[in-house]
């Protein structure tokens, strides 16, 4: 019975020109977005790999000079693109791509790609994720709003039920029909994504991305199921197909366009972001705290004199300027950790509120999870910034240690390429899928809850289906 109903449902859709048109549109859009995402990813990744290689070469090719000059010359860290960013570019356009790793200073990541684009991008980018999160639910609404309401209007519902079809079978059959129709669109779209992914990486890369990609697919599927269930439930409850359509379109609009903005606003209102000038001023004040530096240097002097059991700092067998430079770094690092940490914490608190707002709309948890799994959310950005900063600190430590070890007072000390080569290459690994999910467990929980409640609602609504 269930199968017959599902087949009838599907057949009806396939015969409907609107369905065919919509299905083709959705698949074509996702093909286009994957193609564009793939192209963008390969271009940018190539440029960044090339630049990272060049900055390394420049570092190694430095002539003999004082290690501190080398530290000032520094290196650049370029943000690598995650492969799955071709599915969801997330915040990538809105965070900087490069930071200068120099002595004394943690620089911000600068050059946000969004600033190099036209204002039209603020309408939203057509990524595959956008297609799955915004466009596909609309497709679901349009193919399923009339499942029950339409039959009721045509009077066929009375006939069906009089045949002795149970409401449960009816629900299962209809859901199956909608599900297969959805699969006709989703499966080709997903395959396109897999092909695009396979094109960009070797086997090892693909294997690394697999858990993230699998979770991503699961997240989208849960979302589609939730949406389909809500549509079927509303269709069973609504008095007419017109009402069902209006309710579902309203829900779609609020879900995909209103809540992201409203939630981001509320989050920023609860946890305000300071302005750049305010931030810079506070950080500069702490950085130029000379008293604090004096205290630290005195303490280091005392420690060293005690360690080497001498009466004067000049008698210490290592060069104090290296120690003093490093002490300056340590002081700076504390200030940077405090100030940048505060900004990132503010953002993360905002995003936490944003995630909690997922109670109102299923789109928020999906959006968060999608970005997280694609490796393009703030948490991943922060992790990369942290990696780059730790690398900068390593460079400083190595340079300053070399000065302390080898520089002789009163002479101009220079080090050569052997020292530059001792600095390891900058290597950043994207954390695994589990790491990303752990930081988004609220979203995952909310999404599963949405899905469960939606299915329960649909089931319940069909159980109480009325004929008129």
């Amino acid at each position: 019975m269930v199968r017959t109903i599902a087949r009838k449902e599907l057949l009806e859709m396939l015969r409907d020109g609107r369905f065919r048109g919509l299905a083709i549109l959705v698949v074509a859009l996702s093909a286009a977005s994957f193609a564009a995402g793939w192209k963008h990813y390969t271009d940018v990744q190539r440029q960044h790999v090339e630049a990272q290689r060049a900055t390394r070469a420049q570092w190694l090719n430095q002539p003999a000079k004082n290690p501190h000059s080398a530290a000032h010359y520094g290196m650049y860290a370029f943000k690598p693109k995650s492969r799955l960013s071709m599915v969801d570019t997330g915040i990538d356009p809105y965070v900087g791509v490069a930071a200068w790793l120099e002595a004394h200073k943690q620089n911000e990541f600068r050059y946000r790609p969004a600033q190099d684009r036209t204002a039209i991008q603020r309408f939203g980018e057509l990524t595959a994720a956008e297609g799955f999160i915004v466009i596909l639910p609309l497709f679901i609404v349009l193919v399923s709003f009339a499942t029950f309401a339409g039959e009721r209007e045509q009077g066929t519902l009375r006939q069906l039920l009089s045949l002795g079809v149970t409401r449960r079978d009816l629900f299962a059959g209809k859901a199956l029909g909608v599900g297969i129709a959805l699969a006709l669109v989703v499966v080709p779209a997903t395959l396109l994504g897999v092909v695009a992914l396979a094109f960009t990486s070797d086997f090892a890369g693909l294997r690394d991305d697999l858990p993230r990609a699998a979770w991503l697919t699961a997240v989208y599927l849960l979302y589609f199921i939730a949406f389909a269930a809500i549509s079927i439930g509303v269709s069973a409850r609504a008095r007419s197909s017109r009402t069902a359509l209006v309710i579902l379109l309203g829900f779609w609009f609020v879900n995909s366009l209103i809540v992201t903005r409203a939630a981001a606003d509320i989050a920023a209102w609860l946890h305000p972001t300071p302005s750049a000038v305010e931030f810079q001023k506070a950080m500069d004040e702490d950085l130029t705290d000379t008293e604090e530096m004096q205290v630290r240097l005195d303490r280091r002097r005392q420690q060293l004199m005690q360690k080497y059991n001498v009466q004067s700092i000049d008698a210490v067998p290592i060069n104090f300027s290296g120690i003093s430079l490093q002490e300056g770094e340590e002081h700076g690092n504390e200030v940077f950790d405090q100030h940048y940490g505060r900004i990132f914490d503010t953002y993360e608190r905002q995003n936490h509120t944003f995630q909690l707002a997922g109670i109102v709309a299923p789109m928020l948890p999906v959006r968060s999870l999608s970005m997280a799994l694609a490796g393009t959310d703030l948490v991943h950005h922060r992790d990369f910034v942290r990696g780059a900063e730790l690398y900068r600190r390593d460079i400083q430590r190595m340079m300053n240690a070399d000065i302390a070890q080898n520089a002789k007072p009163g002479t101009a000390y220079v080090a050569g390429p052997e020292l530059w080569a001792k600095v390891p290459e900058f290597d950043y690994e994207l954390p695994g899928a589990a790491w990303a999910l752990e930081r988004n467990h609220i979203s995952l929980l909310l999404l599963v809850a949405w899905c469960a409640v939606a299915v329960w609602f649909a089931f319940h609504a069909t159980r109480q289906l009325t004929v008129d």
Partner: protein, 477 residues
């Protein structure tokens, strides 16, 4: 006849719950949107005030230090000497170039959350000066703001559709259409009256509510140039609304059921507001892909490495180009470390020009595509107009960047002679200052008028089509 029909339609609409739901939604959305805009402008004003305060405090501190040095005849290191033109030009005496929000800025947040509105200008390369960014949660930049522009571009047409999708079909489905038309009234007058009533209600509602919300938010509606901008804004609101009313009327004349009408109109809405803009954005970035800025960074680094190596040779060449700066004492002129830096920076600027030009050209090309293709979607036109009226769009910011670059040049030109002659500054009162000069009202007006025409022409065509199509409207089947 028309007047009495409008009056009748008005009475029947007032009795409907739907109208009051729309009014309530609109009031809430517009109020909230206005609040977002007002709060954002307040944030920007505070940031600008902070820059001015920081600058003033710094100037006071350094001028006090100059007085102390002169009084005590003290010696200070060149790096922190507030009289040293090199140190002053690069950090101690730098000033902010500020783009103040316009009085109507709360109308649209536009690009102002992405593009920074103040820069601390130094003698560094202008790319470095202009690379500064405002702090903002990138998730919020991605989400966009719930501002008045969002309400007008996205929600306003939906509410129009909600009120208009069944103007004819409902009457037909209820069987009242035949009755009404049995009176001495033509179908055209009948439809016109229905649409006109809604147009009047909507326009009055949107314009009045927005003005009240802005006035309550502290916007001075009487400030100079505000009225002219408001007129452009109101034109845009009216034309954009009329486009959607026209579309609803056209769909209504096809004689389909209410549900079909709703689906068709929502389809047009999604095409205009979601699909066309994002496809267009994709087309622009795919046809003219912007190379990542990392290429520029590398180019600048290579140029500066090479220039630094040439160092004094560049300075010699620099003096050849600027003989007025060379002092008689060649030996001393060539030993001026800070002048070597000036020569090197100038050379780096020269060398990276071609690379920078690629970015500007690519962006220009993207802009060009969008400039032509924006006529495909009234939503893009509307957003453009709103940004322009609010002064938060691309154009005004570009003008700002142009002026900042000119100021940056002025700043350098002021200091180079001082550096080359190793003159010391006595106070900071003569340092060049930046003041943004607003674009000419005529230029803004012309830009907006073209976009307005882009709204008016399709609206007229659609209305004419609806008018003609009514002839074939199947009243009785």
């Amino acid at each position: 006849m028309l007047v009495s029909m409008v009056r009748h339609e008005w009475r029947s609409l007032v009795g409907e719950a739907a109208l009051w739901i729309v009014v309530a939604l609109f009031t809430i959305a517009l109020g909230y949107g206005a609040l977002t805009g007002v709060r954002w402008v307040q944030f920007q004003r505070n940031a600008i005030a902070d820059t001015q305060q920081e600058e003033a405090e710094r100037f006071r501190r350094h001028e006090g230090e100059i007085a102390r040095i002169n009084r005590e005849n003290a010696t200070v290191s060149a790096f922190s000497d507030p009289r040293n033109p090199d140190a002053v030009s690069r950090s101690l005496g730098t000033r902010y170039a500020v783009l103040p929000p316009t009085p109507l800025a709360p109308v649209a947040v536009g690009q102002s959350d992405l593009l920074r509105s103040y820069f601390r200008v130094t003698t560094d390369a202008s790319e470095i000066v202009l690379a500064a960014t405002e702090l903002e949660n990138p998730h919020r930049l991605l989400a966009g703001r719930f501002d008045l522009a969002f309400v007008l571009v996205y929600l306003y047409p939906l509410l129009i559709i909600g009120m208009t999708y069944n103007v004819l079909s409902a009457e037909k489905e209820q069987g009242t259409l035949v009755l009404a038309l049995s009176q001495p009234v033509s179908l055209r007058t009948f439809v016109l009256a229905k649409i006109l009533t809604r147009v009047i209600i909507f326009l009055a509602l949107v314009i009045l509510l927005t003005l009240v919300a802005l006035a309550m938010g502290g916007v001075d509606l009487g400030a100079p140039d505000v009225l002219s901008h408001l007129i452009l804004w109101a034109d845009a609101v009216a034309l954009y609304g009329l486009f959607w009313f026209g579309m609803a009327a056209l769909v209504a004349t096809l004689g389909k059921s209410s549900a079909s009408n709703a689906m068709m109109l929502v389809g047009v809405w999604i095409a205009c507001v979601v699909l066309i803009p994002s496809l267009l954005s994709m087309a622009a970035t795919s046809l003219y892909p912007m190379p990542s800025r990392v290429e520029m960074i590398q180019a600048m680094r290579v140029a500066s490495d090479e220039a630094n190596e040439e160092g004094s040779r560049l300075l010699a060449r620099y003096y050849e180009d600027h003989p007025e700066l060379a002092s008689d004492d060649t030996q001393q002129a060539m030993n001026n470390f800070n002048m070597v830096r000036v020569a090197v920076t100038t050379e780096v600027d020269r060398r990276v020009q071609p690379v920078l030009r690629r970015y500007t050209e690519q962006l220009e090309a993207q802009q060009q595509i969008v400039a032509y293709a924006r006529f495909l979607s009234p939503a893009i036109l509307m957003q453009d107009i709103l940004n322009d009226v609010a002064g938060t769009g691309t154009w005004r910011h570009r003008e700002f960047l142009r002026q900042v670059e000119a100021y940056h040049q002025r700043w350098r030109n002021y200091f180079v002679p001082l550096i080359s002659q190793k003159r010391l500054l006595v106070d900071y009162s003569g340092l060049p200052q930046f003041a943004f000069e607003e674009e000419d009202l005529g230029i803004v007006g012309r830009r907006v008028t073209i976009s307005l025409a882009g709204l008016a022409i399709p609206t007229t065509v659609i209305a004419a089509m609806a008018f003609l199509s009514l002839r074939r409207f199947p009243v009785t089947q």
